[in-house]
């Protein structure tokens, strides 16, 4: 077990590929993405009921133990979130090394 940060991002579905691309570009060790989440925030309700996908959210989970990389991810995500809404939470976790 190794201490790490668990980064959780909720972003509108159309921008999910940008987050994925960003993570790859920054060299994140990996990510998991859950699609089709609905939600509510400052920009109203996202119903996840639409054929366009613009009214649904994607949830990213990223485990990362490199402080600089975490910083880079957060700074990379910040402008995207400011533009389109969504949230980013960071918490402490233990990462099982197998």
């Amino acid at each position: 077990m190794k201490p790490c940060k668990r980064i959780e991002i909720v972003i509108e579905h159309p921008l999910a590929p940008r987050i994925a691309k960003l993570l790859v570009k920054l060299g994140a060790p990996g990510y998991t993405m859950i699609d089709g989440a609905s939600g509510r925030g400052d920009r109203g309700t996202r119903h996840a009921d639409e054929i366009t996908g613009i009214s649904s959210n994607s949830v990213f989970i990223i485990a990362c133990d490199d402080a600089e990389l975490i910083e880079a991810i957060i700074e990379g995500i910040r402008p995207i979130l400011s533009m389109s809404g969504g949230i980013c939470l960071v918490s402490d976790a233990q990462w099982l090394r197998h």
Partner: protein, 325 residues
């Protein structure tokens, strides 16, 4: 005229749309699962594209075809100009640009509903109108974005995509690609190809349209309920959502009158002009112009103009064409 509205109102597709609206009004949990709804929309694009392609393969390509396609493309490029300036003051530049692109582009479902309306009335229309529809999907996106960038003094906020990405996005959008692709495949494989798939492509079409419009009714009514959360006043959204289809229909009516387009094709062109996109354009706008607030242009097109065109617009435009011609 009354009979037109009445027969429209008793057609199964429209009645299922109204059932969907009713379900939301009485707060029912009726819901078409989203993955299936997405697939039904793919099916409609596939079927209409394929049939259109076969129709083109079967028909002679004349000057008239070129003229009509040009007319459609021109409409899709012109509409955004005046829409942008009409709504800019109230909506702000970004929202105005997105709205302009939305109404310059088209709603495939309104189009197929108009086709089933024509078929029910046994009025002829040409298969190449599907190509006209496909041609109208994308140009408005580019015009809308150009209008926005020109309206920004100083260097444009480039948080969105570059012009190249934008054009790419507008042409590679899934629904645009599927309709164009199915059209080309229908064209290539011709009547022999159609014979292999006609049951799916033709005979099931209206039935599936019913189920899809049921879902559209639910989604449109939900968006109507959410109208309040946008940054633009609800009354303004209602106003423009009803007025823009009418203005665009009148512009198209003038064109089809000037060029003496026959009844069926004329109605389809007018419906294309009057309808606003809620698939290709909103998806492209989130990437190209994220500053624009989707809860402005999406519910306006989906929850106001779409039901208006479906219930009142189609028979109304038909009536006007009959008066003019």
């Amino acid at each position: 005229m009354e009979s037109l509205f009445f027969s429209n109102l008793t057609s199964p597709p429209l009645l299922f749309f109204l059932l969907g609206v009713f379900a939301v009004v009485i707060r029912s949990d009726l819901d078409v699962p989203d993955q299936v709804a997405k697939f039904l929309s793919l099916y409609l694009l596939f079927a209409i594209g394929f049939k259109g392609g076969v129709a083109i393969a079967e028909s002679e390509l004349s000057m008239v075809v070129g003229r009509d396609l040009l007319m459609a493309t021109a409409l899709s490029a012109i509409i955004p100009f005046y829409v942008f300036f009409l709504v800019k003051r109230q909506f702000g530049a970004a929202n105005a640009a997105a709205t302009a692109a939305t109404y310059g582009s088209i709603s495939a479902v309104t189009f197929v509903t108009a086709i089933s309306y024509l078929d029910a009335g046994k009025i002829e229309w040409s298969g190449y109108m599907v190509a006209a529809m496909a041609l109208m999907e994308s140009p408005a996106i580019i015009v809308g974005l150009l209008l926005y960038y020109r309206s920004q003094s100083g260097p444009a906020e480039s948080s969105g995509a570059t012009m190249g990405e934008m054009i790419h996005e507008s042409l590679s959008n899934g629904s645009v690609l599927l309709i164009v692709g199915s059209l080309v495949i229908g064209w290539i494989s011709g009547p022999a190809g159609l014979a292999q798939v006609d049951l799916l492509v033709k005979d099931l079409f209206i039935g599936v349209l019913c189920l899809f419009l049921l879902d559209m009714g639910i989604v449109a009514a939900r968006r109507l309920r959410d109208l309040g959360t946008a940054e633009v006043k609800v009354s303004m959204l209602l106003f423009w959502g009803l007025i823009l289809p009418l203005i665009n229909a009148i512009v198209a009516l003038a064109l089809v009158f000037a060029f003496d387009v026959p009844e069926g094709n004329a109605l389809l062109l007018v419906v294309l002009a009057a309808s606003g996109s809620y698939i290709a354009v909103p998806a492209a706008m989130r990437l190209a112009l994220p500053q624009a607030n989707p809860s402005v242009y999406l519910p306006m097109s989906l929850a106001i103009s779409f039901p208006f065109n479906l219930v009142i617009g189609i028979p109304l435009y038909h009536q006007l064409i009959n008066w003019l011609v």
